[in-house]
């Protein structure tokens, strides 16, 4: 039996693992973007380019770096769509999709965090197949290929650059819409640590905790299997080792580069072993109160780990090793509790509030019941290791709020 992972019976009769995104990594890599695209047979003639981004990324000069990487190439930037807000919604997607169609765009370069990349994915979908985002809600409802996307992450958490899904807000119902499809994987993920070098410490903390949530939830997912397990475990270890350093020492490019890679590993993991109850709660809180997704995940994560602990103690025990717990002679439950304690301590070290009420989310009974009911309808609950009815889940939501 391994010291970290128990040699438990392999209880998956079958599984599929799929990530088609090509990953290109390098410090300063975007400077060679044109060349990197042109060597790809299928992208060589996709020269009507739209950049999808947000105003913060634009102001930080990161779009200029990408533009410089396309100078003297065959790729012409027809438009820069910089209207993506931190919590994008259906109206933004529709507007972006219309521009894509009006300009005959055949390649999208998404520069930003999760909101930008998910908006780009869905605008690509609507631009290609028409209709509205709601028409494709759920899993595998996208009928075919979409306009290719080159994803250049500027945060260290979303994993959307290699992920199967996209999440946006339905501004009318104030809920999050999740769409998963193999056609939403970006064609290329370009990881350049220089693109995250100036990310503010607060956002490093939030997005890094988002990546940690992806890694932990993929590791304990009902659909976990050895490939996702390897990716998720290594991601959890890299994030734990580097997140606090990356937040406290912005000049440490090594730590930020590792976070960027870990985020990508976690994205590959959760695309094949989907996330669970933390995301179900976080999607609900994000939809209702507009909290940053990473922050929202960070708040709920240790509570959900406690909720799930007894359903898969050996998994949480292994995570304790990823979080540098070296004690021996402890039971899996004891190790699992230490893993949760490490996550709580990391939250404190990063200055993340303990509960949602500390972030002005109402803590009355009506809110608790509403969040419980909506979270239980989130697709992510299908993959949580512990199932629950309202009466069991409500105390968890009450604690988190």
């Amino acid at each position: 039996m391994g010291f970290i992972n128990r040699n438990e019976p392999f209880d998956r009769a079958e599984f599929t693992f799929f990530v088609p995104t090509q990953i290109k990594y390098g410090i300063g890599k975007v400077a060679a973007l044109g060349m990197e695209l042109q060597v790809e047979d299928d992208l060589a003639s996709c020269n009507n380019v739209m950049i999808v981004t947000d105003k913060g990324v634009l102001a930080a000069g990161l779009v200029d770096k990408v533009k410089a990487g396309l100078v003297d190439s065959v790729y012409e930037i027809k438009a820069i769509f910089d209207e993506v807000p931190p919590d994008s919604d259906l109206r933004i997607v529709a507007k972006c999709a219309k521009e894509i169609n009006d300009l005959g765009i055949n390649l999208i370069i998404a520069i930003g965090g999760g909101s930008v990349m998910d908006t780009a994915k869905l605008a690509s979908l609507i631009g290609t197949h028409g209709g509205e985002v709601r028409d494709y809600e759920g899993g595998f409802m996208v009928p075919g290929k979409c306009i290719p996307i080159v994803a250049i992450p500027t945060t260290v958490g979303t994993g959307s650059e290699v992920s199967v899904g996209a999440v946006v807000k339905d501004h009318e119902t104030k809920t999050k819409i999740t769409i998963a499809s193999p056609h939403l994987y970006p064609r290329i993920a370009m990881l350049d640590p220089e693109m995250v070098a100036t990310l503010p410490a607060k956002l490093v903390a939030y997005t890094g905790m988002d990546a940690l949530t992806h890694a932990i939830e993929a590791y304990v997912s009902t659909e976990n299997q050895p490939i996702s397990e390897a990716l998720a475990f290594r991601a959890a270890e890299m994030i734990y080792d580097n997140l606090e350093i990356a937040v406290k020492d912005p000049s440490n490019l090594d730590a930020r580069a590792k976070l960027q890679i870990a985020s990508m590993l976690a994205g590959m993991a959760f695309s094949n072993a989907p996330v669970g109850a933390t995301h179900a709660i976080s999607h609900t809180i994000g939809g209702l109160y507009g909290l940053h997704h990473g922050l929202s995940n960070a708040v709920a994560l240790p509570y959900v780990m406690e909720f799930n602990l007894e359903s898969s103690p050996s998994r949480y025990a292994a995570l304790a090793r990823a979080f540098n717990v070296t004690q021996t002679g402890l039971s899996d439950l004891e190790l699992g509790k230490l893993a949760i304690e490490r996550v709580r301590n990391l939250k404190v070290a990063l200055g993340i509030p303990e509960r949602y009420r500390d972030l002005d989310v109402p803590s009355n009974q009506e809110t608790i019941d509403k969040v419980t009911e909506i979270a239980l309808m989130d697709i992510c609950m299908a993959f949580n290791p512990r199932k629950a009815e309202f009466a069991e889940f409500q105390p968890l939501v009450q604690q988190v709020i």
């Binding site: 009769a13 079958e14 599984f15 599929t16 759920g138 899993g139 595998f140 409802m141 998963a180 009902t222 659909e223 094949n272 179900a280 239980l376 309808m377 989130d378 697709i379 609950m381 299908a382 993959f383 949580n384 199932k387 629950a388 009815e389 069991e392 889940f393």
Partner: protein, 181 residues
């Protein structure tokens, strides 16, 4: 009126599914064996329904009901050659059929057990939703004390099937009433 989750209901569903032009045109074809175990019906019975699809058409189906708790059924292991097996109480299945409960809500419940490769099942979400929609349009009654039109009551059924001990052979996809359509 047809009683929900009975042989008559399945027969009507099969007829409609195999005649549905839109379902036939769906490019993602259902293939394989889909099993549903539904517990504690209003007539005091547990039920198993099997639907075998070949290229989007139901090629065979079966149905069996026995007094609850039908331990043999409840304890039967999942056969890894099946595409999926769903198991839940009758009241939950009825809520799903009425549209009172979403499939997502059911999947978060400890009372709905889904077995099979969920990622593959997600890929089949569209044809499965269409299948579900066709079945949901069959007009049914959910309140009945006996599956038959006569007056056979729950107590009589229970006396006919008094055993709650597991039988030697677990039910499979073709134990009873298989019918090529």
């Amino acid at each position: 009126m047809i009683k929900y989750y009975t042989k008559a209901w399945q027969e009507e569903c099969v007829k409609r599914i195999n005649a549905d032009a839109v379902f036939e045109q769906e490019p993602k074809k259902l293939n394989g064996t889909f099993i549903f175990r539904v517990y504690d019906g209003p007539d005091g019975k547990d039920r198993i329904m099997t639907w075998v699809f070949k290229q989007g058409k139901i090629s065979s189906h079966s149905y069996e009901a026995q007094a609850a708790p039908w331990q043999e059924l409840r304890n039967a292991a999942f056969n890894t050659t099946w595409a999926m097996r769903g198991s839940c109480p009758f009241t939950m299945m009825a809520s799903l059929n009425k549209g009172e409960m979403t499939p997502m809500r059911a999947l978060s419940s400890p009372h709905y057990k889904l077995e099979g490769n969920k990622m593959t099942l997600m890929q089949l979400m569209r044809p499965m939703s269409m299948w579900n929609d066709i079945c949901a349009k069959v007009e049914v009654t959910y309140e009945f004390t006996s599956e038959e039109d006569g007056e056979t009551n729950v107590e009589a059924s229970a006396i006919e099937n008094p055993s709650t001990e597991p039988e030697a052979t677990p039910p499979t996809d073709n134990t009873t009433e298989s019918a090529a359509s």
